[in-house]
């Protein structure tokens, strides 16, 4: 064997060894990538169950009458329904409150209005049009939601408030802040409307977050307001002032409030009392105090008997 071949041979051995190492590395990488790819595929394969109808219905002159008719809802695969036999109508210019203990289905109920979920039977309609018949964009245009967990985006106070209406003027923003009792602390912020908001709104307190979220909904000027336990982080005084201001702001809109506190909902034109997903009482505070045992329990637990009497 010529000596040159030996030298070449040694080089080849080195090359092969190197390649084998690389190949081994790839054998480690490929299963990892495959596992990751599979997870991504699962997401991509998920079919959207909430689709816009082919021929969407349009509401030309929306008023915001929200009607629940024999609504039943259960999560996919669940044995028991979260909500059943829910029927009520929330009208413009009125406040409809939903109360009930934890887990009675209040949040689920209001989530059906913007069609975050589809009812499993019955219907939810706005101005007589089933929400499933509308384009989701159109539907959401009508509704202003303030969720339980007030969520703010990173940016400024103004950019958050303009989320619902990009063309809103500064005056409109200040007006909304005033209604939401948020003028004080926004004024105190170094840049006012331009004040920085961290991601998730972590640089303002829970109560301030809630008030900003409420102001954001006001800026949007929707036909239907949905407040899902949006006053919980506020003290009684602020809560009361806010609701008083809100009443003026929302005089021709439909307002739906979910709350734990009796004080928050007492003045509502209509109170819907939920217990384990069913309506056990419907009416005004006075009517319910007469007729509804569950409602009385709720009231008494918060105001001791002597205070009510």
């Amino acid at each position: 064997m010529p000596i040159g071949n030996l030298a070449a041979f040694l080089q080849y051995v080195m090359l092969i060894l190197f390649s084998v190492m690389m190949a081994a590395l790839i054998f480690i990488m490929v299963p990892r990538a495959a596992a990751a790819a599979e997870r991504i595929q699962q997401v991509l394969d998920t079919e959207a169950t909430l689709c816009d109808p082919d021929e969407p219905a349009e509401i030309s002159d929306p008023h915001g009458v929200v009607e629940f008719r024999d609504v039943e809802f259960r999560y996919p695969g669940a044995q028991d329904a979260v909500l059943c036999n829910i029927s009520f109508t929330a009208r413009p210019g009125q406040t409809t409150a939903v109360v009930g203990s934890t887990g009675s289905g209040k949040t689920t109920l209001v989530n059906l209005i913007p069609r975050f979920y589809d009812v499993t039977s019955g219907s939810v309609s706005i101005d007589g049009v089933d929400v499933r018949q509308m384009r989701q964009e159109d539907l959401w245009q009508l509704i202003g939601v303030v969720p339980q967990k007030a969520f703010l985006f990173s940016g400024t106070v103004a950019s958050n408030l303009r989320y619902g209406d990009e063309s809103a003027t500064d005056e409109a923003l200040w007006h909304a802040l005033e209604t939401a009792q948020a003028t004080d602390f926004v004024t105190e912020m170094t840049d006012g409307l331009g004040g920085e908001i961290d991601q998730g709104g972590t640089n303002v307190s829970g109560g301030q977050r809630q008030r900003l979220a409420i102001a954001r909904a006001i800026v949007k000027k929707p036909k239907v307001y949905v407040f899902d336990d949006s006053f919980s982080a506020l003290d009684f005084k602020t809560d009361q002032q806010l609701r008083a201001a809100l009443r003026k702001e929302t005089h021709d809109a439909t307002v739906i409030i979910v709350a734990q506190r009796v004080g928050t909902i007492m003045h509502a034109d209509q109170i819907v009392v939920l217990d384990s997903g069913e309506i056990v009482g419907k009416g005004t505070h006075e009517q319910l105090m007469e007729t509804c045992e569950t409602y009385r329990e709720i009231v008494y637990s918060q105001l001791s008997r002597e205070e009510v009497a």
Partner: protein
């Protein structure tokens, strides 16, 4: 927005003093998402662009030398071990360095044999090497020089015995080198892990000594990441880089020495190639570095955006911003693609370029080495060895470069850990503390003054005398800083003036442990740990008997509920107690207080996320717990406030009024307004 709000129920945002938005600038965001400027790469979650390890821009420490010196100081106790590692690493490196040279002698033996055999064809056996060379030179044979450079003896074939010895020696050498490498890694694992163990212990002890102020002003995620990520980072570097650093440097020196020993000229040529390669790399890397920086930054922005639009999904949808969110994602995604493509493309050029340069070097050595072999000034084995050396030369250099980069980020980590270790601790307990047992529960606040930030006075000259069994109510609107008083009572913060006395003893003359055991706390932020319900109730008094635990549970109205659980008192509570409702958790902490039986209580009445039926139970249990004890109550209930012996009214972090209910009402001040707005109307309308 006021008050430290550490355990307060009223301030969701942790807005302590001195912690405005973005004060954690140098800190990574808590959680898995790595924002721009955060430490990337090591954190999971989000889209991590693939990148070359050495291309990740290292986070730079502020004081590299000082931190390095301190980190080396931490290694002090391990010095003998480190010397051992160095010695062993040097030996193993020597093995790898001498390997090719010995292989070269093997090849020379082979060559000798082959040429000897050829010569044997036309030269008579018995001719010596010298005679053969002379003969060839006389006949002007061009191969004369080549033969002269070998030890070939005409007619003598390959000396397989000698060749075998060489190969055996080589095997032994490599085996020894491997063994020593293993010893080095083994020892280093011990060194690094022990060092990190000590560091973790120090940090843990430190955390116990830090005042509440620290936790109020530092995001939890930041502290957590210092304890976990940063220490891990240090461990990895100590483990890997230190050994690698030693072997790499030793290899570079060793290989260089061998190359010069074999052929100074070829060595000089190889070295000449180095600056060319280095220059090219720097040229390319500088461009790619910029692109990588952009890639990381854009990825950070993209991740933030994804996180945001997903946690705020409901808002994005209901405000009809879906299209907009998708558009913004697409834009950002496009930018990430752009930056990543450039970065990867440019950095992809580096490897081929380096290969090309190294191949040029290879050719040069091959040609020059070949000429030298032919002219007999160099043996073939040496050329072979030299080629091997020049090939194994670049690896340790790139390694050293990447370690230097890694070292930067490690120093940054070490700096952050040391920063934590250097934080001001709470004032140590006095040397000879007084001991408070079976306290009566008489609490005196005498001229207490306190401020979180020196320039904003919060509490000035607060006087209150709460006798055994009396109730002090703290009222005020959301965010009024009601927890401040609690913080002072428990000495989570130190008062600036005056004194707080329990049974006439200044709380600063007691150990904190003694003081805090005298108090019982039931806050809204209930804290339960992963363990059984029994263990959780017994937390306040470890030596409690079963009967006492059950009695406490009964007093707190939680006994029945516990018995409905599948395992009763042995039911295990998760870390975050997700298998219990808020009200149930609160009842358990009340049971805990019953069992601990403190003479003084701190209660938070807020029960915002408790359903109505449980709330009645909580209310009753609290009332029973307060009976006969001195109580400080963050009050929300009218009956509590009315019956309190003393009321502190707080607003904007300050105490604005003080007195009994009737006095305060008569004053027509802040309390009067608050009282009317909160309760009067509610009562009137509820009728």
């Amino acid at each position: 927005m006021s008050g430290p709000g550490s355990s307060g129920h009223d301030s969701g945002g942790r807005s302590g003093p001195g912690m405005g938005p973005g004060s954690g600038a140098s800190a990574p965001r808590p959680g898995g998402f790595s924002g721009p400027g955060g430490r990337r790469g090591r954190m999971g979650g989000g889209f991590g662009p693939p990148g070359h390890g050495m291309m990740i821009p290292a986070e730079k420490p502020r004081h590299f030398r000082r931190t390095l010196r301190r980190l080396l100081g931490e290694l002090g106790p391990e010095r003998p071990k480190i010397v051992l590692v160095m010695a062993v690493a040097l030996i193993s490196t020597a093995g790898t360095v001498f390997g090719p040279k010995i292989l070269g002698t093997g090849i020379n033996k082979l060559m000798d044999g082959l040429i000897g055999k050829e010569l044997g064809r036309f030269l008579p056996a018995g001719t010596t090497h010298q005679q053969a060379v002379t003969l060839l030179q006389q006949s002007h044979n061009p191969l004369a020089d080549l033969v002269a450079g070998t030890n070939a003896v005409p007619g003598v074939g390959v000396d397989f015995g000698a060749l075998g010895m060489v190969l055996l020696g080589l095997t032994a050498l490599y085996l020894t080198a491997t063994f020593f490498t293993w010893v080095a890694w083994y020892t280093m694992a011990g060194v690094s892990q022990r060092t990190v163990y000590r560091l973790r212990r120090d940090v843990d002890l430190k955390l116990a000594r830090l005042p509440l102020k620290y936790f109020d002003t530092h995001p939890r995620g930041d502290t957590l990441s210092r304890v976990t990520n940063d220490i891990d980072n240090i461990a990895n570097t100590l483990q890997q880089s230190l050994t690698q650093m030693i072997t790499s440097v030793a290899t570079i020196i060793g290989v260089l020495a061998m190359m010069f020993w074999i052929s100074p000229m070829l060595a000089a040529i190889s070295l000449l190639v180095l600056p060319i390669a280095a220059g090219l790399t720097v040229l390319i890397a500088r461009r790619s570095q910029k692109q990588f920086g952009a890639q990381w930054e854009r990825t950070g922005v993209l991740n933030g955006q994804v996180e945001e639009s997903h946690t705020g999904h409901m808002i994005v949808k209901s405000f009809g911003h879906q299209e907009d969110a998708i558009r913004r994602f697409d834009e950002e995604n496009e930018r990430v693609y752009d930056a990543s493509f450039r970065a990867q493309f440019i950095s992809g050029i580096i490897q081929p370029t380096m290969n090309f340069v190294s191949n040029l070097n290879y050719v040069a050595i091959g040609v020059l080495g070949g000429i030298q072999v032919a002219s007999g000034t160099m043996s073939l084995g040496d050329v072979q060895a030299f080629i091997q050396y020049s090939r194994s030369f670049t690896m340790p250099i790139t390694q050293t470069a990447s370690i230097a980069n890694l070292l930067q980020s490690t120093m940054a980590s070490a700096e952050r850990v040391f920063e934590l270790l250097d934080e001001a601790e709470e004032i140590p307990d006095v040397d000879q503390p007084e001991v408070l047992v079976n306290a009566q529960g008489h609490v005196g606040l005498e001229g207490v003054g306190f401020r979180y930030a020196p320039e904003t006075p919060l509490i000035d000259d607060l006087n209150a005398d709460i006798r055994s069994g009396e109730v002090l109510a703290i009222v005020g609107p959301t965010g009024a800083g009601k927890t401040t008083v609690v913080n002072l009572l428990m000495r989570f913060y130190e008062i600036d003036a005056g004194a707080i006395k329990v049974d006439g003893i200044d709380t600063r003359h007691l150990t904190r442990d003694n003081l805090r055991r005298t108090f019982g706390m039931v806050l809204q932020d209930t804290w339960l740990f992963g363990g059984t319900i029994r263990e959780n109730i017994a937390y306040g008094r470890e030596d409690a008997t079963e009967e006492e635990i059950v009695a406490a549970a009964k007093a707190a109205h939680v006994d029945h509920f516990v018995r409905t659980m599948p395992e009763g008192y042995d039911t295990v509570i998760d870390d975050d107690a997700s298998n219990l409702s808020q009200g149930e958790k609160q009842l358990l902490t009340i049971a805990r207080a019953f069992l601990a039986n403190p003479q003084i209580l701190i209660l938070d009445e807020a029960t915002s996320s408790v359903d109505t039926r449980t709330e009645v139970l909580v209310q009753q249990a609290m009332a029973r717990l307060m009976k006969g004890r001195t109580a400080f109550v963050i009050a929300h209930r009218l009956s509590t406030i009315r019956h309190a012996d003393e009321i502190l009214v707080m607003d904007h972090g300050k105490i604005v009024e003080q007195g009994s209910h009737d006095e305060l009402i008569a004053r027509h001040g802040f309390y009067y307004d608050l009282y009317n707005s909160q309760f009067e109307e509610a009562i009137a309308e509820a009728v």
